[in-house]
């Protein structure tokens, strides 16, 4: 598989843990719909802010593999939205 896609997916995976932690906290104050809303909005923003403050050097690893910050964040956000929509559809079906 293309090296860039693997790097984009690895970055996306690294956003999941923080995003899901924020979403779990939000679950205490709302419903399952709140969980998906936070996952695709505040959760993602908080994850990127966390990376910007505490993991800034990590971006250099991806730059050296030919992937820009815009591509990393854009791809991750697209995948986050895709996952939220997918889960919402599954929730409606079952």
């Amino acid at each position: 598989m293309d090296k860039k896609i693997l790097n984009l997916f690895e970055f996306f995976k690294s956003t999941l843990l923080i995003n899901l932690s924020v979403c779990l906290v939000s679950l205490f104050f709302g419903t399952i719909d709140t969980f998906f809303f936070v996952f695709a909005s505040y959760g993602f923003v908080i994850t990127i802010l966390y990376k910007e403050i505490y993991k800034k050097n990590d971006y250099l690893f991806y730059y050296n593999n030919g992937v820009s910050k815009l591509q990393l964040i854009g791809f991750s956000y697209f995948f986050t939205i895709f996952l939220s929509v997918l889960f919402l559809i599954l929730k409606e079906i079952f």
Binding site: N7, N57, D58, L60, F61, N64, G66, S68
Partner: protein
Amino acid sequence: MRSHILEVDSIRKHFDYKLVISDVYLKCVSNDIIALLGRNGSGKSTLLRIIFGIVSAENKYIRIDGIVKNKTASLLDEISYLHQESFIPSHLSVKKAIFLSISFEKRICFLEDSLIQSILSKKISYLSSGELRYLEIKLVLFNSSKFVLLDEPYNGLSPIMIEKVNQLIKDNSLKKGIVITDHNYENVIRISTQLLLMKDGKIHAIKDKNELVEKGYLSLRMT
């Protein structure tokens, strides 16, 4: 093998009204190992960061093979950069970091290294600073870029590791242009093909070690 040319022109950078870099010109061709020396705060690291695109400059022209490439995204496939601090995400394993950075064709050659073999099953967060530095240098040198900027590569390396790194730099300079800056000037001078000194925001071409004394980078006792 095709030779490539990196030209950096008219770079200007101020920090709090102080002119740190003033109209710098630098040319690096494949096979070059350019040593960029200078005192602390002379702007060497800033210059490398501007070239790589992670620090902005008031003015800059970067050309690769005659084509102007001023946007960071357009430079990422052409230039790789070794940062002063560690930059491999700590949650990755060594194997994963190699898998994400090195193309399939180069991977076998990359792995033919006793040090890399000894750390292959470890996580990045468990590596010693020397092991991590060595891995970072090797990843940066082995990726598909045409030029490599090495900012203080010898940081935290033992003399034997320095020898290994010097050999890596020499081997990879056959295919790439390399710019290296480090305060370990003896090693830098030993492997370089060209010496440059940054002073007062400008780059000066240096012919021999004595000129480094004249320009105030080394003292007489050090030569």
